[in-house]
Symmetry: C2
Subunit: 192 residues, 2 copies
């Protein structure tokens, strides 16, 4: 019953094009052509090119914020929280790999919503850092450099949009589990 409106079609088509060439390199005529219409007709459904980008990015950013907030509310161990964060990224990214490309690469073109986005992002990183920090204090996580840990996990999760489309044989569940294993336990066979 849930049917994509014309506006939603335009936005998801735009996301696909934005992933291929980046926001700035995609013209309204490119987008119209991909939709099988003329550029001017797009404006029956959307207000501006800018707005399309905003709708793609902000809703995704809020999904992450909400997801992490829920994980924080739980009483899982910090390692378990990290596993849930991995699942969160895999789930959101699997559902919208195109949009995630814009989130990662085109956020700087958000203009009016830029500050809001940057707030969400800074907040997300802070919450993430907090899980790691608590994990160290609680003797669950090795006392390595927190920033290095944060960076390496987050970089991997943020790159999922590039990789998930190429490995569709792995379902989200399986992928989350294997990713968690590699990220948390490492790959070294020797026990030092």
């Amino acid at each position: 019953m849930k049917q994509e409106t014309r506006k939603e079609e335009i936005i998801s088509t735009a996301a696909k094009l934005f992933k291929e060439k980046g926001y700035s390199a995609v013209t309204m005529r490119d987008l119209a052509s991909a939709m099988g219409m003329k550029a001017a007709s797009l404006y029956n459904h959307i207000n501006s090119k800018q707005q399309i980008l905003k709708e793609i990015i902000i809703s995704l950013a809020e999904d992450f914020t909400d997801g992490l907030k829920n994980i924080q509310k739980s009483d899982l161990t910090n390692i378990q929280k990290l596993q849930e964060v991995v699942k969160l990224h895999v789930r959101i990214t699997s559902q919208n790999t195109f949009g995630m490309a814009s989130l990662n690469n085109d956020w700087m073109h958000l203009e009016e919503k830029l500050d809001y986005y940057l707030d969400l992002r800074a907040n997300y990183e802070e919450e993430f850092r907090n899980i790691i920090q608590k994990g160290i204090e609680n003797d669950e996580i090795i006392n390595d450099n927190v920033e290095v840990i944060l960076f390496s996990i987050l970089s991997t999760l943020r790159s999922l949009y590039l990789w998930i489309p190429k490995k569709e044989d792995l379902n989200p569940e399986e992928l989350s589990q294997q990713l968690s294993k590699v990220l948390i336990n490492g790959i070294n066979k020797k026990i030092n």
Copy 2:
């Protein structure tokens, strides 16, 4: 004695702008303005906007290819080779974080050199995969999914350009070591 030519100045200024806004969003007038000259004057030193991008990306891509080839020639263990790859990324990225942004985000605008770049890239990933594969066969690396291991390490290394500029207190040596530790040994305190 080694002095930047005007052309090199233009290219490194361009790289800086490309990192901030992406290749497509940077105009020749933006670049000229950042150089303190008029757009037309740029053409006394460079042939086209395209060529600037090409020079930024291709030389970096070749640095990686050469670096990995040298590591492969050595008779290190596979874990040690991975550590050397980490060093390679940290070194090249530290020297040119701006250029690395273009390499990661603007390669699709390479046009004539696109195929060459994609070859280098595919080759690099294949060599990288090979180290992991051999490491597993040789009982140095846990027999997890090779693709998951490859992806998580490479994602982290490819994102270094975003992170190194923000943490200039860590010198390259130290950073490489800590990164290797986290990527290879994981972060889990419990020995399962």
